[in-house]
C-alpha cells in the first residue's frame, strides 16, 4: 500500500474537524501540531500520519501534471489539495492515512488519489539481498524496517487510483489560498 494519499476536494477542508470526526467514530489517534502540518499520533504517541496544510490550487494543468489526466479531470480546478503521508515503519499507518483522506473527500466532495507505480520502492523479497533499511538508526529518530510480510504485502497493486465521491454537504470553493 502506498504511503502517500491526496484528497482533491472542492469545499475548504477542515483538517482538525475531520480528525475529531474520525476520533468520535472510534479511530484511536490524537492530533499534534507540527511545522506546517499536523501529525496523527497513535496511542503510544508515535506520529503515524502527517497531514500537510491544505493548499488551494488555482493554476490550470497543475493537478494533471502531478497526478495524471484521469484524476485531474475528476478533480477540476480550482481545487483543494490535502496530502497525508503515513510513516512507513508503523503497521496500519497507511490505513489511517487513507481513512483520513476518504473522510476529507466525503466531507468536502472530490476525488481521492493514491499513487500506483510499477513496483513499490521498498519491496525486497526476504532472503534476496540485505535490506538497506535495517541499520540501527540513532535512538528515537527512525523506526526499523517493517516485518517482511508487510513489505511483501506492499507488492500487491493498488486498486484503481481515483474514486469519485459526491459531496456529503454542498460547499462552495471559497476560502483563501494558504501558500506562504
Amino acid at each position: 500500500m502506498s504511503h502517500d494519499v491526496v484528497a482533491l476536494v472542492h469545499g475548504a477542508p477542515d483538517v482538525q474537524a475531520t480528525v475529531s470526526q474520525m476520533i468520535a467514530e472510534g479511530e484511536r489517534v490524537r492530533l499534534v501540531p507540527a511545522e506546517s502540518a499536523v501529525h496523527l499520533c497513535g496511542e503510544d504517541g508515535r506520529p503515524m500520519v502527517s497531514v500537510e496544510a491544505p493548499q488551494f490550487i488555482e493554476v490550470p494543468g497543475e493537478v494533471e501534471r502531478l497526478v495524471g489526466p484521469e484524476t485531474a479531470a475528476q478533480a477540476g480546478t480550482p481545487v483543494w489539495w490535502v496530502e497525508a503521508r503515513a510513516a512507513s515503519a508503523i503497521v496500519g499507518a497507511a490505513d489511517v492515512a487513507r481513512r483520513f483522506a476518504e473522510q476529507v473527500v466525503q466531507n468536502c466532495g472530490g476525488v481521492l488519489w493514491a499513487p500506483t507505480v510499477g513496483e513499490p520502492a521498498r519491496h525486497t523479497p526476504p532472503g534476496e539481498e540485505p535490506v538497506p533499511f535495517e541499520p540501527e538508526p540513532p535512538a528515537g529518530e527512525a523506526e526499523p524496517d517493517p516485518p517482511a510480510d508487510e513489505a511483501g504485502a506492499s507488492a500487491v497493486h493498488e486498486e484503481p487510483a481515483a474514486e469519485q465521491v459526491e459531496p456529503a454537504a454542498a460547499e462552495g470553493t471559497d476560502g483563501e489560498g494558504n501558500q506562504p
Binding site: 493554476v59 521498498r122 538497506p132 533499511f133
Partner: protein, 336 residues
Amino acid sequence: MTQPIVDMVTDSAIVVMQDRPVVPFTTWISETLQMSGDSGRGLQIVTPSASRITMPLRLMLTGPNSRWVVREPHSGEYYDGLGGVRLLWDGAAFVPADPDDESLVPAFGLADPPDSSQLTLTFRVTNPATAQMQLGGSLERLCQALSDEPPRGWGTCEPIGRPWRRADVTELCRSRMPEPTWMFTIAGSERPAIASIRVSRSATGVEEWGTLVVGYGPDDEPPIIALPDIAGALAAEFQVVSMFAQMRSGRGDLTSPAHWEGLPAPVGMVVGPEGVNDAGVDRALNPPGGVARQLPSPAGPTVWYTLGDGRSSDGWTLFEKIMRHMRHGSQRDRVG
C-alpha cells in the same frame, strides 16, 4: 519543533521512500530538505525505477550526499536515477558502489533517448532595491519569448498553486528578507516551461538566480537562432549579470526518468557589464572562437557569445577557451 515524518535518519543522510509515478517537490520534501541541510545530512529519495521526478525536485536535490536512489526491479540493485552509477547502502547512506568505477548500470541505459528536447536557461539578474521594484520581470519576459505565455502559476513548492502575480511574488520575498527565497513557476500550455528562482539581497540590489527549462516536442524547432535576440531584449530591460543556454534531449513534459537521456550541449551565454569590464571591452568582443555580439544595455557593456548548436559537445571546449580568454584579460589588467 516537530520534525516531518521520514523513513530513516542516519548520521549522514535522511532517507525517504516515494512510490508515486511522478515525485514532486512537496511541502513535506521541502521541509525534509531543510532539515537535512540544517543538520549537515544528505537527502536521499528512494523510488521504484518506473517513477519520474519533477524539474523542481531535480533542481533542488543537489546538496552533498543528496541523490535520487532508484531500485532496479529485476536485480534488486540500487542506482543513481540521474547519473546511473551503481549504489550500495554503506550502513548510513546510499553511496557509489565503487568510486573508481564510472560505468553505468545496464538498466539506466536500456531506454532509447527521447526525441523531444529541453532548453535550459540559467540566468542572474540584479534589480535595484527600491520600494517600486517588482520581482519576476526577467522570468516573465523569457517565458513569454520561449513558451508564448507569461508564467501562469507560482509557489514555494509543488503543487504550484497560486496564480502568477509579480506583486505577490515580490511581497513574499520582501517579507522574508534578509533570508533568501526559493520559488517555482510554471508556464506554457502548449510548450511546458518550469522555472526555479532564488531571490536574495546582494551588495548592489536584489538578485534573481533563475533556471528556466522549456520542453520541445519532436516536431518543434528549439529557438536556437532567436536566442541572441531574446537575450538582447532581456539585457535592454534588465541588468543581466550572466546567462547560459544549453540543450539536451529530454522529455517534453520536463520530468526526469530513471534512465539515460543524453548529455547537454551549450548554445550560448551572456556576460554582463561586470564580467565584460573586468576582462576589457575589446578583449571581451574578440573571443578566441565563436561569435561575440554586443547587446544594447543601459546597464553597461553586455556581450552574447554563441557556443554551439545545442547538439555538439564541442561547445564546451569553446566555452572553456572563452572563459580563459576573459580571465586572462582581467589578470593582465590587475598586474598592469
